[in-house]
């Protein structure tokens, strides 16, 4: 479980996060949604420690991440897997080497053991015959799968995904969403996804946090979202005709 308390973050004179507090539950897919400039990327980067917040706390299973020293943070980070918007695979490494990379850096596994585990993860994300290819030789959807395989290679407790469906076609998006849900349950992880994709929100939003202008505007489940009364949330989530029809049907 990850608990965020009163998180504030400013850049020069602009306050991007204005005291956000929420809880992300273990074994569930937690979504952060909001319009462009709402502060969701900054929020996620503060939680994983890529940005240092001005004040507030981020508790990883009761341990205050922000107050930790470098070595303690390093330990927590080894329990974190992250899927970046652009996949962030290492260009100079093959698919197999990318997945085995965290194992090479943080375990005492032999090369054969690393290869075995990497292949297990690659199979788990249903990616075959691509082990020896470089990131530049595979499609966007395949890159996301490799990034998921790399994220789970070291059995993480926490999984962060930044716009996992960006740049993917609808069918591949659904495949990636399903994979994230399955892996979250399989590894009993705390998964936090930053997304704009309303289909993902409805399909897998076991817990949703809606940010608006750097503040927590609303939080709840996907079922509760269909009957939400908050006008800002309605205007954002049900902006398309398909989403409006879904809301009307649910009534």
């Amino acid at each position: 479980m990850i608990e965020v308390k009163n998180l504030i973050k400013s850049f020069e004179h602009k306050t991007v996060l204005q005291g956000v507090s929420c809880v992300f539950e273990k074994g569930k897919v937690n979504l952060i949604i909001g319009g462009s400039g709402s502060g969701k990327t900054v929020f996620q980067k503060c939680i994983v420690g890529l940005f240092k917040p001005d004040s507030g706390s981020v508790m990883y299973d009761g341990r205050d991440f922000i107050a930790m020293n470098k070595e303690e943070k390093k330990e927590v980070r080894q329990d974190i897997g992250m899927l970046f918007q652009g996949s962030a695979l290492f260009d100079s490494l093959t698919v197999e080497q990318n997945v085995a990379f965290p194992l090479k850096m943080f375990t005492d596994m032999t090369a054969a053991q690393r290869l075995h585990r990497a292949n297990e993860c690659i199979k788990r994300v249903k990616l075959e015959n691509a082990n020896k290819l470089y990131p530049s030789e595979i499609s966007g959807g395949m890159k996301k799968r490799v990034a998921i395989a790399r994220a789970i290679a070291n059995n993480p407790k926490y999984l962060f995904c930044d716009e996992p469906n960006s740049g993917l076609d609808p069918v591949t998006s659904i495949v990636i969403d399903k994979l994230i849900v399955e892996i979250t349950q399989e590894y009993n992880m705390t998964t936090i996804i930053n997304t704009h994709d309303m289909n993902s929100v409805i399909e897998m939003g076991e817990r949703i946090v809606f940010l608006h202008k750097g503040k927590l505007q609303w939080q709840g489940t996907n079922t509760e979202l269909l009957s939400v009364k908050d006008k800002t949330v309605i205007d954002f989530v049900f902006a398309t005709q398909i989403m409006q029809a879904l809301r009307n049907d649910s009534k």
């Binding site: 980070r77 260009d91 850096m105």
Partner: protein, 246 residues
């Protein structure tokens, strides 16, 4: 104000990168890859530059030393010392600042804008140390050998040019390059090489590491890396010359 900020950030970056590597076997593996790329990868450009510059230095020296009072072997002495003291450690390192520096800055800058550096940080890896320390170590170790090779190539280029054009007979040139040889000059050249190797790698890596934006900024960072490396090489060339020779 901006320059003070950049200098402060550079020193914090340097403090971060000289830390114990996560895993020594991985570190040594990276060092070998970098040495191969910086050393063997630079041989052709270094050889071409050295041979032609050696030839030009010899012919120009011959042009300037036309006096019956000056023996022809003096051309060999002048060419040798110019190559050892200045041309190989400074000019060749400026050429390498363009080749190696832009490559380091481009590589690290691309990793920054494609979030590969963030991915390393999230994993708990000190990205500055992981990416840059092996490059600095490899450059400091391998580039002195490249510069020594450049010295031989330069002197050889001068010999060939002198002989082919007939401005310095082989016997005079060969006598000249052996006369009044000071091993200290080679030591001085190697001190300069190590200093410049550190400047090229750390300054280029710094510009790549703090790239912010997209492909346009990666290009700008590479340009800055080469420009600042060259300026610092010239500045430290002067400082070291004052310290060792003045």
């Amino acid at each position: 104000m901006k320059h003070i900020f950049e200098i402060g950030r550079y020193w914090l970056f340097v403090k971060d990168l000289f830390t114990r590597p996560e895993k020594w076997p991985v570190f040594w593996q990276q060092v070998l890859v970098e040495m191969e790329s910086m050393g063997f990868g630079s041989l052709v450009i270094v050889a071409i530059n050295s041979i032609f510059m050696g030839a030009v230095i010899t012919i120009q020296s011959a042009y300037n030393l036309v006096s019956p009072a000056v023996p022809l072997s003096a051309i060999g002495i002048v060419a040798r010392d110019s190559i050892i003291i200045e041309f190989s450690p400074t000019i060749i390192m400026m050429v390498l600042a363009g080749k190696i520096g832009s490559s380091i800055s481009g590589e690290i800058g691309t990793m920054r804008v494609t979030e590969q550096i963030d991915a390393l940080e999230i994993m708990g890896i000190n990205s500055a140390s992981f990416l840059v320390f092996p490059k600095i170590f490899a450059a400091i170790f391998i580039l002195p050998f490249v510069v020594i090779l450049s010295m031989f190539m330069g002197v050889f280029g001068g010999w060939i040019a002198g002989d082919l054009t007939g401005v310095v007979p082989s016997a005079d040139y060969l006598k000249g390059i052996q006369d009044s040889f000071l091993p200290f000059n080679v030591f001085f050249a190697l001190v300069k090489t190590v200093t410049f190797a550190y400047i090229i790698t750390s300054v280029s890596a710094y510009h790549g590491y703090f790239t912010d934006g997209g492909s346009l900024e990666v290009g700008k960072a590479s340009t800055k890396a080469v420009v600042y490396s060259n300026i610092l090489i010239l500045l430290f060339d002067y400082i070291l010359t004052m310290l060792f020779l003045a």
